[in-house]
Structures are given as structure tokens and as C-alpha cells.
Subunit: 145 residues, 2 copies
């Protein structure tokens, strides 16, 4: 066990995350977004089949009541819509509205600008991604349940 290395890596990852979030919080607030709502927008890929509430909750590692709360905020701001799934009328898919699409793009631009990760050169960026890919489940594996 390389416990030393793991501790250092956890600390570094944590710091990068906090720097990114701390830097982006201000600009995102001007878009009317809180950290939680911005994070939820990240989880909604425009090109994929609209995910159910449950799928999104899994992606965000939060529970159903929490996602209901966040989805309400996004819906109130006109960024998402809940559409019933015809194959299972209990389920509702979250889809981005036209405005939601634009705001999401802005969120990602703003976050990239705020993140120290943007300072990495392409080689380091590629290496970093290849390493993290080994331990991070892909989006596909974060589907329902």
C-alpha cells in the first residue's frame, strides 16, 4: 500500500477541485446558478438520450429528494423540463431547454477559465486523463441503478 502517495494524491485532487469551484462560484452566481445547480447542468449531456431523475441522481451521487430539489431550481429558471417516460409513467426524464443548452455551455466555459487545469500543456493533460480514466467509471456506467 502506498498510503503516502494516496494521501498526497487525495489532497492534490481535493485542492484542484476546490480551486476550480472557488474560482467559478462568483461568475456562476452572476448566471443565477449555485454550485449545486451548475453541477447538475454538467451531468446533462445534450447529445445523449435524456436521463431519468434517478440516473442523474446516481451521477451526482445524491439521493432522490435532493435531485428533486435541484431539478426544481433548474426548472424554475427555465433551464430544464421534466418529461414523462411513455414506457414507464413513474419515470421522468430531464431535458435541457434551449436556454438551458446555452447556459450549460456558458457554465462549462466559465469553469474551464476558472480551473487551474487549463494551465496544463496538452501532453500532461492527456497523461492525466489516461490515468484518471483507469479509476473513474465512464458516464455510460452511471446509468440507472
Amino acid at each position: 500500500m502506498d498510503e503516502q502517495g494516496a494521501v498526497a494524491a487525495i489532497r492534490a485532487i481535493h485542492e484542484v477541485f476546490m480551486l476550480t469551484e472557488a474560482g467559478a462560484t462568483g461568475p456562476l452566481a452572476e448566471l443565477g446558478l449555485t454550485p449545486a445547480t451548475a453541477q447538475a447542468l454538467w451531468a446533462l449531456e445534450p447529445d445523449e438520450e435524456p436521463p431519468s431523475m434517478k440516473t442523474v441522481a446516481n451521477r451526482l451521487h445524491c439521493n432522490a429528494p435532493n435531485l428533486s430539489f435541484v431539478a426544481d431550481q433548474l426548472a424554475t429558471r427555465g433551464l430544464v423540463q421534466r418529461v414523462p417516460d411513455p414506457r414507464d409513467r413513474r419515470s421522468r426524464a430531464l431535458i435541457l431547454t434551449e436556454k438551458g443548452l446555452q447556459v450549460r455551455a456558458q457554465v462549462m466555459r466559465t469553469t474551464v477559465e476558472s480551473s487551474p487545469l487549463s494551465a496544463l500543456d496538452p501532453d500532461d493533460m492527456a497523461t492525466l486523463l489516461s490515468i484518471l480514466d483507469k479509476i473513474v467509471p465512464t458516464l455510460d456506467r452511471l446509468r440507472d441503478s
Copy 2:
């Protein structure tokens, strides 16, 4: 600008952080710790000179009222003590108690066990750290503003 890569890297970092936190939250709760209090313990290095409230707030990227709140919780649980700085009697240093020292060690063990980062082999771990070190200010640079 490799915006694509930056987006992917931010997403991956975010996911690793959330997996680590989600995995550790349960065990930490059994130690009587919330995410915020556990995070604060990480920022208190036993081997360094006890940092002031302000220094710790900077490290956690939070403001003074927030740190007062978290420090209260740690103090109530007997994990830290506030000791006045004789050179500036406005300032208070946070020091770990004996119990705080032990709990902190347990927090780090638990977090390491919960983190997917522990699955990396030593080479990848070293590479990851060398890349992140390029963009993360070291602890020393996070002293009093």
C-alpha cells in the same frame, strides 16, 4: 486552448473527488464527523507550527465566519483547541488535541480506503502527483494571505 481536454479533466477530477467523498461520508459519520469537519482536520498538519484561523480558512477556501463555525464543532468534540498567539493577541492558533491527532489519522486512513485513487499503481500515482504539483500551490504558499 485545449478546451475539450480541460472539460474532460475537470469532469474526471470532479468525479474522483465525489467518489472519494461519497465513499468516506458514511464511515466518517460513525466517527462523529461531517464532511466539513473532516475536511478541516485534513488541513491541520500535526508536524507544522499551529496555523491561525485565518491560515486555515485560506487553505479551505472559506471565509472567517465559516471557519469559526467549523472550529466550534471540532472544539466541541474535543478535537482541537484555540490557543491565543502571544505575538498578536487577536490571533488564535488551532492545535490538535491528543484525541484530535488520533481521529485525524483515522480520517485519513478511512478516506484512503474509500478513494479510487488507492487503486493506482505506484508509477501512475507518481506521475499523477508530478502533474498536479505543477498547478497546485503547496501548503506553504497557503499561509496567512
